[in-house]
Symmetry: C2
Subunit: 352 residues, 2 copies
DNA sequence: ACAATTTACGGGCACGTGCCCGTAAAGGTA
DNA sequence: TACCTTTACGGGCACGTGCCCGTAAATTGT
């Protein structure tokens, strides 16, 4: 310690400017009650010192509690995908709690637009200072964004993005590139004369995610002049019976399908069908590290899973709000997650 | 706020035990000067309250600075691999600085055992309370571990492990499984009659990492009854000319090599050779997300890179020490990193 | 018995920042 | 000039914990 009796932080600023710490404080939080002259003088000193406030002391002194909300789909019987972001959110909460940040979680039904809208209303009633949201329904999300703009509440999108809204940040995959990677893996050892099947299983019709992914998938075929014919099918019911019925029909019409690509986490339903109908020679790729999928990965029915670290997404999403509201640091607007490739051989080390 | 005028933390414990906060403090830090009776009484209350100290206040009040050391290889001309862990360490340092933790970094020459031993001596002279170390040389590391045991200094291994030493934690890949994954990717579209070449380019002879990786690689061939013949070669010089010379010879002897697996980040040297000798039809897989490798990935010379998030390793390694020394929380002993698969299509989103 | 030593504990300041409250000075009105 | 309002600023306590210092009580020695 060479520097011995120096003052630190606010006190030192106050000493240099010949004012009290209270006045410095007023400037730092740009409150009223300081003349322009002294304000300028203090600001100059702050700049010169490159003053960084001590967050410990700051959070300790202010009893102000920051309230954040997270609005994500509930874990359904169909998929427990959202349990991962939820755990990431909880992890972030545990870390932030000692800094006086509280997180409240709101869940909605992915198959019910109204529950989404309803929970948004609840969130606004709660008077939160920052919101993490999965923008599952486009129109409702636009209204949500507009209201946040009016109230000056920062919000972060997670898992899928709606561009051109002024979200503080987007944390999630680059969907198009993700489809592109899927195509690469699917065709890596595919014979030229085989057909490729794209399967979309979803109740939602105007699915932005799905369109982006398929677009990327097809782009790979174009870029690399893949000769394979692409067949596609939309399945609006998510239960096994319906899926099996549709797939039976498609495989009947197209006897030379060599590979199938499922655009979401319901790939396990397709895997189940392939196994039951003794078609495990068909290469199969889909999304997300959920238990059912990993089981079929283990059994060699699914070849690859593409994942985007949903747990990390939840964590980073909350941390982005924390950075903005507590640390007051700049936040990266586009935060694309890695496109992870999970196989039978490496899944045991995968970290969501 | 339902709970209004309650006291928190140490004060509340003191009130309930009819002692002063100083006495509670003595118990919390098990210092001397408290009778067994009151000590027991206070401990009971602490347990009952499930008291969690406020780290903010704790770190703020204690001017004690915690000093951590990191001992890793320096970035050499051959490879800038270690710049990634270094950046992770720096990231951790930035986060910990405000909690009164300082990090000092010691670098050694990977090709010089003595520089490793010398830096270890420097570290011990520095009187650090925790050490992160890349155990690149086995014997020296064993002595290091013994000395740490004597001095009761916790240490964390990073990137490669030496089992049976009592490290606080190991942060790095499961090397054997990592080789296993390499074999899977390499054979995924390999014809049965082609040979597979394992290449080890390293000056170090007793390389534990390399043995583990090759063992895992071969295990995949056994487990899956892969018919391909495996050829292996050790190259002790790391410059391009030497590598090219050896490889020319091997490819001359074995005309039907269909795939090559390089056990470390020097895969770009092999890629260069394959490109120059017009052998880009050979599938090539190697390790680590370093610039040269990514360039060859981009040019389709390298098919896959296997990576273990070196940046994250540095970060987590330091954080393990932080958890132990500052938060006094339990630390996971084995912390295997994911085995990431990087391709031309997904590398732009890869996060070290 | 008394002094000398050790043990057990309390008082209270410090860490850096937030913010309430009090007040002197400046400006405004008659 | 006397009185009131507004502006500009300082004093000082609080946040929860660490730890120094002082002292009454218990223990030991003679």
């Amino acid at each position: 310690m060479e520097k011995e009796n120096e003052l630190f932080g606010v006190k030192e600023i106050a000493r240099r400017a010949n004012v009290s710490t209270a006045t410095v404080d007023r400037v730092l939080h740009n409150r009223t009650g300081v003349s322009e002259k002294t304000k300028a003088r203090i600001n100059a000193i702050i700049k010169e010192m490159d003053y960084q406030p001590n967050i410990l002391a700051s959070r300790l002194a202010s009893k102000k509690i920051i309230n954040l909300a997270a609005l994500i789909p509930e874990v359904s019987e169909e998929t427990d995908f959202w349990s991962a972001p939820l755990s990431g959110i909880r992890r972030a909460e545990a870390e932030m709690r000692q800094y006086g940040v509280q997180v409240q979680i709101f869940l909605f039904d992915l198959n019910d637009k109204d529950s989404f809208a309803g929970q948004i209303r609840h969130v606004f009633e709660g008077g939160f200072q920052g919101i993490l949201i999965s923008p599952s329904f486009i129109e409702e999300t636009k209204k949500f964004a507009a209201e946040c703009g009016r109230r000056k509440i920062p919000y972060v999108f997670i898992d899928s993005d709606i561009p051109d809204l002024h979200s503080l940040s987007y944390i999630g995959p680059h969907l198009r590139k993700s489809g592109y990677v899927g195509a690469k893996l699917l065709t890596y050892r595919l014979e030229a004369e085989k057909k490729v099947l794209i399967i979309n299983i979803s109740k939602e019709i105007d699915n932005y995610n799905y369109l982006e992914i398929e677009d990327g998938f097809r782009a790979y075929f174009n870029d690399n002049k893949q000769p394979n014919e692409i067949v596609r099918i939309d399945i609006r019911e998510t239960d096994y019976q319906s899926v099996a019925r549709h797939l039976t029909y498609v495989f009947h019409l197209n006897r030379d399908i060599g590979a199938a690509f499922v655009t979401n986490s319901r790939v396990h339903t397709v895997a189940s069908f392939l196994k039951n109908s003794h078609r495990t020679h068909v290469s199969l790729i889909g999304y997300d590290f959920v238990k059912e999928n990993v089981d079929y990965l283990e059994n060699n029915v699914i070849d690859f899973l593409i994942c985007h670290r949903p747990d990390d997404q939840g964590y980073r999403g909350m941390m982005a709000l924390y950075q903005k509201l507590v640390v007051n640091a700049p936040v990266i607007k586009q935060n694309y997650m890695p496109i992870d490739i999970v196989t039978k051989e490496n899944y045991e080390f995968y970290q969501n």
